[in-house]
Amino acid sequence: MTSLAKRLWPDTVASRAILILVAALLAFHLLGYWAYRVGVENLATAGQDRGLAERIVSIKRAIASLPQAPERDRVAHDLSSASLEVHWSKVSLVLGSAPVTERTRAMEARLKELAPELAAESFRVGFADDGALGAGEANAYKHMMLVSVRLDDGSWVNFSSSALGASQHLDWGLTAIMICFAVAIVVVALLLLRWATRPLRDLAVAAERFSLDQVLQPLPETGPVEVRRAARAFNTMRERIRNLVTERMQAMAAVSHDLRTPITRLRLRSEFLEDDATRALIDADLGEMEAMIDSTLDYLRGGTSSEPLRAVDLASVIETIVDEHVDQGHPVSLVGLNSAPVQGRLLSLKRAASNIISNAVKYGQTATVTITEAGDSFAILVEDEGPGIAETDRERVFHPFVRLEESRGRQTGGSGLGLTIALAIARSHDGSIALENRAEGGLRVTLSLPKLERS
């Protein structure tokens, strides 16, 4: 149940604000209505009680003024009405031991106020329901209020009135208005708050779209003060991050560049070594270092390059790469299209394809390269017979310096930048790279690039 509650619980600033506002407004609305009704009821009740007290006093006076018993009784009946019955008798209807309640007190106070001549003992007030009467009388006077007033000669005038209270039925008109107001409150709150919190929503959306690679689009600094400050802080932070990243990359690039000179010197010096075997090994090591520098610098450029975009035949690029591998004795084969014109940078495309094919040879023993087309793109498929890549690793392999096997040795490993660079290059050409394991075992890497549009 709690997960359902979680789903229903409002999560946005606007919806929470709306909830609070509506709840508060409705609470006040209901409180006010209740207070109004209670007030109206009290007023009505007080008015009725006042009227009743006045009538009791005047009837008592009228009856008291008559000397004879039968007269008193007849006048009592004459003065009765639907809402107030009057009887004269020698005994009091209301028991002396009647319980005292709020209302009886109020009634007593009212009577005393209107007829100060009534002494405290000369009248009694009670409610039939409260047990103010004797056992036999209670049923006849259900829901009634009774007042018994003693006359000077010891006889009593008994008044009985139907239970008072404001009419209990709902005032439908008032209720309808109340519901309309409640609905109006909710609607207005909704509209106003959504409008007021829009800058915040826009900020959140723009922040999500932030990416270091793309053109710097500063967040608009609009809206209420807090939102503006947040946007400004975000823009500043983004600027700082960009600068930080740029500095680091420049430092890395500088180091890599500077390494070239000592490596060149070593290359030259190795020429003068008499021992062929040692020279060959030293040259191989130097080659490794050069490759690391190249791949690091390529990675730092993020797939961009100073080469201009041109119409390049991708098939010829792949053919050159495959031929080189074949010459080195690697089992690489090529099938498919003879021609695949794309818009791109020759050396970058070469680098990307070469990295992918080298990976296949290194980790997959063999590589079968296929050039095909799919819709408005060309697809280069490189399939190997290696272990493939587990689903969980497929995202990681594109991260820089990540290699799936543990050693960092170049013979078995590599710098971990091959796929990173290839993906960056593919993206900078509006293309993509997909990885999947073949049913027969091994990995299939698909490099897709949009076809050249010929006008």
Partner: protein, 254 residues
């Protein structure tokens, strides 16, 4: 790569000017080239280079693009204004724009740093060979563009464009082979002749690719365009023939 040190050949002669701001590199390159029969002078910057050019007969300049002061690319242009002396540039491997502007500025070839000395030697030999051949032949080999059947070759930038304007990537050997074909178009060429003409400008190739394999690869690349299949014809028993009308042009490819 197990190789015997490259032996000095009869062609290795000449005065080479090495322009690099690193004194160790100047020294080492000089020693290396001297071992192979060249006379070498070193210069640390553009000013020294100009002085050396003024005072001696230089047969080839090895020019580093990353020089203090005036850059190698600009110096290359300066030299070209008054002289056709062959120039081999030393560039950074990842700066293509440098290389392209260098080649367009008049350099004959380039080697990327860090370079293997043999690589440099092979380039120097290739460039000297071409330049000497150009001097000895009557045809002015200053054309930069060669066209045939809608195809265009830029000899400076070593690029091939198909008739549809698409750049076709060729390996070093394939490009040299195609150059050999177009320079001797419409004539039957034996395998031996082709191997001689298309001597690769990279260092002694450890991979023994037969000329037939090279030609079949070149054919496949040319077949990217429908017309390409007709260009290289096999003449049974004699060799190959490049069948096309070839034109030489100045200027640059688009």
């Amino acid at each position: 790569m197990d190789q015997a040190p490259a032996a000095a050949t009869a062609d290795d002669h000449g005065h080479i000017l090495v322009v690099d701001d690193d004194p160790q590199i100047r020294l080492l390159v000089a020693r290396f080239l001297q071992r192979h029969g060249y006379q070498v002078t070193g210069a640390p910057d553009g000013r020294a280079m100009m002085e050396a050019l003024a005072h001696s007969a230089i047969d080839l300049i090895v020019l580093d693009v990353m020089l203090p002061g005036r850059s190698g690319v600009e110096l290359c242009r300066d030299v070209r204004a008054t002289s056709q002396v062959p120039i081999v540039m030393l560039t950074a491997r990842t700066e293509e724009s440098e290389r392209i502007s260098g080649l367009e500025g008049g350099a004959d070839d380039y080697v990327t740093k860090p370079f293997s000395p043999r690589e440099l030697l092979a380039r120097i030999r290739a460039v000297l060979r071409r330049s000497r051949a150009a001097h000895s032949s009557s045809a002015a080999q200053t054309s930069a563009i060669i066209t045939f059947d809608g195809w265009r070759m830029d000899l400076r930038r070593r690029e091939l464009l198909s008739p549809s304007g698409t750049l076709i990537d060729l390996s070093t050997g394939e490009f040299d082979l195609l150059v050999a074909f177009v320079e001797h178009a419409n004539r039957v060429l034996s395998r031996e002749a082709l191997m001689q003409f298309a001597k690769t400008r990279t260092s002694d190739d450890p991979f023994d690719r037969t000329i037939d394999v090279q030609i079949s690869r070149l054919r496949r690349k040319l077949e990217a365009d429908a017309s390409g299949g007709q260009l290289i014809k096999t003449i049974r028993g004699a060799g190959y023939l490049f069948a096309s009308k070839v034109d030489h042009q100045q200027g640059q490819l688009a």
